[in-house]
Amino acid sequence: MKYGDKLVKMQGIIVHISDGSVAMDLKGRLGHLTVPMRMLITDYDLKVGQEVAFNISFPEVMSGEVNEKYVSNIKKNNRGGK
């Protein structure tokens, strides 16, 4: 990765909780993230509206080529844009 070195602090709000996952909106209209329960660290019982924070860098496109295998999986499951 060429640009992956810069960590920035990102904040978000928990907007949905299910038995297996937690969904959060990133503050500043910077996106949305859903993670498995296991990937979220919390000292508190989870509630919608709690704020989260994490250090993250920017996703960087690794090459100009598309991976046909993923394309076919996405088409097969009709998951584009989900």
Binding site: M1, D5, K6, L7, S18, D19, G20, S21, T34, V35, P36, M37, R38, M39, L40, I41, T42, D43, Y44, D45, L46, N55, M62, S63, E65, N67, E68, K69, Y70, N73, I74, K76, N77, N78, R79, K82
Partner: protein, 623 residues
Amino acid sequence: MSITVETAKEHAMDHAVSCCRFEAGTIIEPSNLEDPEIFFDLEESGLLKLDEKTLKIGEVLGAKLTKTVEALTPLTADMLEGLNVQTKEVKEEIVGTPTAATEAVAPTPMTTSLNGGMLKIHIGEGKDINLEIPMLSTQGSATAIEPTARIVEVQGTAATTENVAVLPEKKLRTLTKKHFKIEKVVFGDETKIEGTTLTLRKGVELEAVESQELVTAMTLEIITPAEYDTYSETIMDVQPIATKEVDNFLGTGDTRVIDGVIVMVTGVDENGVQIGEFGSSEGILSENIMWNRPGSPDKGDIFIKTTVTIKAGTNMERPGPLAAHTASDFITQEIRNVLKKMDETLVVETEELVQFRRPGKRKVVVIKEIMGQGAMHDNIILPTEPAGVMGGKPNVDLGNLPIVMSPLEVLDGGVHALTCIGPASKECSRHYYREPLVIEAMNDPEIDLCAVIFVGSPQVNSQKFYVSERLGMTVEALDVEGAIVTTEGFGNNHIDFASHIEQIGMRGIKVVGMSFSAVQGALVVGNKYMEYMVDNNKSEEGIENEVLACNTLCKEDALRALGMLKSAMADSDVKGPERKWNPNVKELNLEAVEANLGTNIDRVLNETSIPMSEKRTEKLKTK
């Protein structure tokens, strides 16, 4: 930053570097030396270069500087007089130990970030010196990280049998596994086994659908080795087909098991979203399976593969994945019922597993942390049938509290795993049925394995610590000398994993930790009891490589952990950890274990042995 007398003592064998400018004539004390903990960062940023000429802290203490040195100068013999030579002899003695080296996973500190994390010091004194030193940890972070994983030397295990009276082994119980070979699976009018052919009733899946309210459809496929190159949804679970003989209880008596066929569970919801969907790991079976892991299919196995469709939107709620597993188990149960009636003459192999207690040997407990965060992160404990569903209780419902099981209950399919994400590190139901650590610990004549404890990993930290404290009390009550704690995958489960080790370690019990760590699964927290760590990683890059069961616990890991625990219980010397993941440590440790056992340990293969999927090609290309 200078160091204290205690730190100097602890790091006597580490390099000696001046922390500030000191004039000729200074007698070296700990306060003149830089903290070795930050050498790695200093070396990375080019501020410090150490070589073999650099003296050790133990050698320089009390010596007199003959030259004036600047800050961060590695101290060498030509700048000092009155070196402490005694330490040198100790050092040579340690280096000369031929049976070197077991394992370590350095728990990479989560908080370390070189980015922006520069400590800027301005030293006045009219000379305007500006120093920039990378900080070891994030400023003001509440999470103190102690990367304390150590390398232990495996030494002769003779010490473990010292001072111990020879008492006879005590046979507690036996489990007999009768193996039936199946070479062909077909669909037909009724479910039956004739010779080595298993016939599955056409339409059995429709009844399975009926049995579960949340299940709306199911397809059933038979995948033979010739069809390994076909597409599959994400693999949720791999299960043995085994059953108890009439009136036999799980963990004892007779079990019948089919060799050559496994059940594979896959599923989606009505919107086509995979159960436990967090990004794709579906694809061509042969590219996504690490064959012959304890929890995966063996190469050559026939798969009875279910693709379960559950109601839209239930894929992330607890009842959804459970319904998919229960519906699949409906089909397995039909096979089990036939298997129960099979003629004994068709048994191809009889395997007797015996649980011994070994009074007088060092008492050891194995603790397996399993997922308990909810939905697909759940496990059904102690079902009536091996790796079944009925009769079992989800560990989430049991409050994730420690459950004591006999090793034979584990090896008889006492845990049915719903665990769904992290294909490379998840322990499928078949894993527990063939759990290598339980097998090796149970059969090791040098230790007394008293129990296997399963403990769930809840979501919230307060729940984690609640569970962890109970585990500590349970282990205390067992009066063991040693414990091995394993966990599955990575994420917040590493918080309770660390806490379990602390709870056990603080009671004066030696404890070895086992986890997938390497690069991507680096531990997020640590404590001073995490001294003995074994990494389950097998992947080339040290990552979750999306290949089923690639990074799960195998026999080679079990042997390393047991070797390490025995060394620790015998109070062997401890080496410092590597700062970054280094796969060579594992290999050196395996060689040490081999030298000690006098046998060869087969190394398992990794993803390089299977056809490269395009996505992995892509991933490796960009490294």
